[in-house]
């Protein structure tokens, strides 16, 4: 019987290789899979490229990975937050690379990665520093920038409920980047507050169909702060 639920966090993170690109869901702490990130730290993979909206809060989640020197590069829209001191210090010391991507372009690039789209023209960022060197094009009188898809070796997803088939639902604004990231990685690992029976999730309300998910691990309701 198909069962994507693994018994513990160590099993969930098994096999993540050094040098991997890791997509990490969440917007700030909402939907950020803190337990999976802690388990990745434990697992030991290093020289990572992290793709996430932010670059870590205080000493939680992504900030811990950074602090442990596991991250070579961050691709995000908004690294600088009130409590992103770990990232800030590493960046200013030249110890971590940064690629800043407008938030909507980041979401759309990850969607494109999961959807087999080779590239797309977006009006966002045209005429700005963040489009420097990128191909531009006028379409129906408006200027667009060509953006490329983003894919990961691994995606770490923070969901609410999941079943053994890998179907996932989220809670409120913790959905954010998680559904796209789940589609755009070779290995998608989801933490859930609760594992439910197959058939218990309303098929009309499943946000991430199980086809996108390789492993599910129950971590209970995470409390970040």
């Amino acid at each position: 019987m198909r069962n994507k639920v693994v018994s513990d966090l160590a099993a969930a993170l098994e096999g993540v290789a050094d040098g991997s690109t890791i997509l990490i869901g969440g917007f700030g702490l909402a939907g950020q899979p803190l337990a999976l990130i802690d388990a990745l730290l434990e697992q030991g993979a290093t020289d990572l490229t992290v793709v996430s909206n932010n670059a870590g809060n205080a000493e939680w989640g992504i900030a811990r990975l950074l602090q442990a020197g596991r991250v070579r590069k961050v691709v995000c829209s908004f690294p600088r937050q009130s409590d992103s001191y770990v990232f800030d210090e590493l960046y200013l010391a030249g110890k971590v690379e940064l690629e800043v991507v407008p938030q909507g372009n980041l979401a759309e690039r990850i969607r494109a990665g999961g959807a087999g789209i080779g590239g797309f023209y977006t009006p966002t960022g045209f005429g700005t520093l963040l489009a420097d060197g990128k191909e531009t094009r006028e379409i129906d009188g408006r200027m667009y920038v060509l953006e490329s898809p983003i894919r990961g070796d691994v995606a770490l997803i923070g969901a609410f409920r999941g079943d053994r088939l890998g179907n996932l639902v989220y809670r409120k604004t913790s959905r954010n980047f998680n559904p796209m990231m789940a589609t755009a990685a070779a290995l998608t690992i989801a933490s859930v507050a609760e594992v439910v029976e197959a058939g218990a999730l309303d098929p009309e309300a499943v946000v991430t169909p199980g086809i996108f998910v390789d492993r599910v691990v129950a971590v209970g309701q995470e409390e970040a702060a």
């Binding site: 917007f27 700030g28 702490l29 909402a30 939907g31 909206n53 829209s77 908004f78 690294p79 600088r80 937050q81 990232f87 800030d88 960046y91 200013l92 940064l98 800043v100 991507v101 407008p102 938030q103 909507g104 372009n105 979401a107 759309e108 990850i110 969607r111 977006t122 009006p123 966002t124 960022g125 045209f126 005429g127 700005t128 520093l129 963040l130 200027m143 989220y170 809670r171 409120k172 604004t173 913790s174 959905r175 954010n176 980047f177 998680n178 559904p179 796209m180 946000v207 409390e223 970040a224 702060a225």
Partner: protein, 208 residues
């Protein structure tokens, strides 16, 4: 006689059309929400994935899974909907929002917006949704002081700070005046205890 932030927020709220879908940027624009009459039937969008956002959450209503784009806890109104950030930014980019109100470092008379980066080489660049919001509504309004703390005008002929978007702003609400900007240049729509001549002198611009 210039307007304080709260009075300016009230003025902006009065200019929002009935039934509009509105995104309020982080910072001062958030104040606009306090002045939206229920009868105006405005629906608030937050780009982290929600329509139908209610007021800030307090006490037991605080839920770490329900936050706005400024990562502050908020509430949900009846008829709300949640969606992914891909869908949320598609909604913005596709021109479905009626009004977006943003803060700014500078706005040019042609509607160019600079609000994400001071250009300081020591600064850590962070754009968030600023560039998406800049092009992401039928009307993009800026709420800002006319003058920076050093006395220089923030409404300019051409932005000296790095741009967020080109020709995207249609109206600038400042403590001294409301000014239309765009391909036709800057035109003063309303003044608050000041004159057109004063505004010309403060900005060095050929305002009409």
């Amino acid at each position: 006689m210039s307007l304080d932030r709260d009075a300016l927020a009230a003025r902006i709220a009065r200019d929002i059309p009935y039934g509009a879908y509105v995104n309020l940027g982080i910072g001062a624009p958030t104040l606009v929400a306090n002045h939206l009459e229920p009868a105006l039937d405005v629906i608030l969008h937050t780009e982290n994935g929600m329509l139908g956002m209610g007021p800030a959450a307090t006490g037991d209503d605080i839920d770490q899974d329900l936050i706005n784009a400024g990562k502050q806890p908020v509430t949900e109104l009846p008829g709300a909907a949640y969606f992914s950030q891909a869908d949320s930014f598609a909604m913005m980019r596709g021109g479905h929002l009626d009004v977006c109100v943003l803060g700014a470092y500078q706005v040019s008379v042609h509607g160019d917006l600079a609000n994400w980066h001071t250009g300081d080489p020591g600064a850590i660049p962070a754009v968030g949704g600023a560039m998406d919001l800049a092009i992401g509504a039928k009307a993009v309004w800026v709420m800002m002081d006319l003058l920076a703390k050093d006395g220089t005008a923030k409404l300019v002929q051409a932005c000296s700070y790095p741009l967020t978007g080109v020709g995207c702003v249609s109206r600038v609400y400042t403590d001294r005046a409301v000014i239309e900007v765009g391909s036709g240049g800057a035109r003063v729509l309303d003044t608050f205890g000041t004159t057109l001549d004063d505004l010309r002198e403060l900005t060095g611009l050929d305002l009409t």
